[in-house]
Amino acid sequence: MAGAAPEGVTPHQYLENQTRWRRVEIAFWLATLLPFVVTPTYLSLASQIAITALFALSLDLILGYAGIVSLGHAAFFGLGAYTAGLMSKFVWGEPLTGLVAAAAIAGLVGFATSFIIARFRHLALIMITLGLGLLLHEAANSASWLTGGADGLQGVDIWPLLGAFKFDLYGRTAYAYSLVVLALMFLVARRLIHSPFGLALRGIRENAVRMSAIGAPNRSHVRKVYTISAVIAGIAGALLAQTTETVSLEVLSFERSADVLVILILGGAGRLYGGILGAIIYMVARDQFSGINPQFWYFWIGLLLVAVVMLLPNGILGGLARFAERWQGGRR
């Protein structure tokens, strides 16, 4: 993209050009409304996709932009889910306040752990994120008086959204709710990556040593983006808890951390839409193959991972971008 800037473009125009809304983007967001009319029986699935996409978006901020590999991102998703679930059980079932509470708790824990995260890189970082994820999973398992342990949290009851829209069986409200939250969070993330801070994150990803050499406080940047990412992941978790009215230990599992990584890598990390695209493909495929044993499902996921790493290093969106570049180059 950057290489193709024509002569006579001022620096300011160049930067504006990079942040401009493209037609595909607008078309995409309009298309997210289609499930309401085209596949009204699949709105629950659509809602799950939106939630997963939001979770993947949160991971993209730290992994795709700042280059922080996490094998335990489900920790924040799960925190959000349990917070929303417990809130409805012990305080009230009003969804929006539940969402805010989940965001706050996930953000607080994210902020606290960000001090650890920011100190490490490479292998140690991978192990720490893995360890923290496992730790939280195990803690929720042990604290069965609060979380219900392996049986899941019982008695989650969510009030109608805005006091008017009940969470129906078809998932109309669920999808509308998830989609709106996804779109809002997407706007935040899009703004963030096109800000000076977003540029700094890409700098950390590209070369952390050089970042220090231009005077950048890498650790404080990492802490900030990690906290923001935790908030968004927590919101995604809360959406899942509220729209399905269940919370099980699975929200904190290593599989969920691995899944979201797969989804993001499949779609293309560091591309904003990568997580969304990955979520659509992954969730639809999973739904189509829901007949097969989940054990075997992971065989194909594993194969997919190997294939993506070996053949499609920048995910589907990266592959598409390269294809488009070549095509345009050929035309010129």
Binding site: A2, L15, S195, P196, A200, N207, S212, A213, G215
Partner: protein, 251 residues
């Protein structure tokens, strides 16, 4: 430190049994162009790493102007006006040249942490970055991704990134390493055109360039400073001839 821009006091560093800095005492006055020469492995890069905080000295202190910066993190030293370039390119491959330098400008001006406003709103940061790139003859290539730039252009970008921090002291580690001879003269012409109050220390192996562009020369051998003086003094010093120039003439 009476007016020195940069000074070190008794700097020592070893890697295991290998001594790479031996009681290094350095005093660089304001605005002087220094060359740091010495055979490969003498410890020149290590000295820059020590001064910029990328390595910790075993003993010794480092002063930037009046301030003791020995215990500061590398980025804090940069913010106080101490910048460097790298012998081996250390750039941001997937950022365009303009983005990279704009990033450095944003960091210096202190709004690189702002995430709720678009980058285009900081028009003057981009303009400043562009001006720096243009001054180093990179103006036309500034929208290309760093990894697409030629090697020589990447060497210039190294300097542009350092300049964007508005340093008072600039340490250049073999800025012309790997650049063809005629181009490296151009590059040093650009360096000598930098502001007069900027203190520059550059490492360079080409003696013609060293004698042309340096006001003073420091000769380093096996981690220690052998001689420090004007080009004439250094050229006439017999010890230097022996350990360094002598070798260079034979090889």
């Amino acid at each position: 430190m009476n007016g020195a821009a940069l000074a070190t006091r008794g700097l020592n560093k070893s890697f295991g049994s290998l001594v790479v800095a031996k009681d290094v005492e350095l005093v660089l006055p304001h605005g002087v162009r220094y060359a740091l020469i010495g055979p490969n492995g003498a410890g020149k890069t290590t000295l820059i790493n020590l001064i910029t905080g990328m390595l910790r000295p075993d003993t010794g202190r480092i002063f930037l102007g009046e301030d003791d910066i020995t215990s500061l993190a590398p980025e804090a030293r940069v913010r106080r006006g101490l910048a460097r370039t790298f012998q081996i390119n250390a750039l941001f491959p997937q950022l365009s040249a303009l983005e990279a330098v704009t990033l450095a400008v944003c960091e210096r001006r202190g709004f690189a942490g702002v995430w709720w406003r678009g980058l285009p709103e900081y028009r003057d940061a981009a303009d400043e970055a562009h001006a720096i790139l243009a001054s180093l003859l990179l103006g036309e290539h500034c929208y290309r991704l760093t990894h697409e730039l030629s090697y020589g252009q990447q060497r210039l970008l190294e300097i542009a990134l350092a300049l964007a921090t508005r340093p008072r002291v600039l340490l250049l580690d073999e800025p012309a390493a790997g650049v063809p001879r005629d181009e490296s003269a151009e590059l040093f012409a650009a360096i000598s055109g930098l502001a007069n109050d900027l203190t520059v220390l550059f490492i360079e192996h080409d003696m013609d360039i060293v004698f042309r562009f340096a006001a003073r020369i420091i000769v380093m051998v096996s981690g220690g400073i052998l001689v420090e003086g004007t080009p004439d003094e250094v050229a006439e010093d017999t010890r230097v001839r022996e350990v360094y120039l002598g070798k260079a003439h034979h090889g």
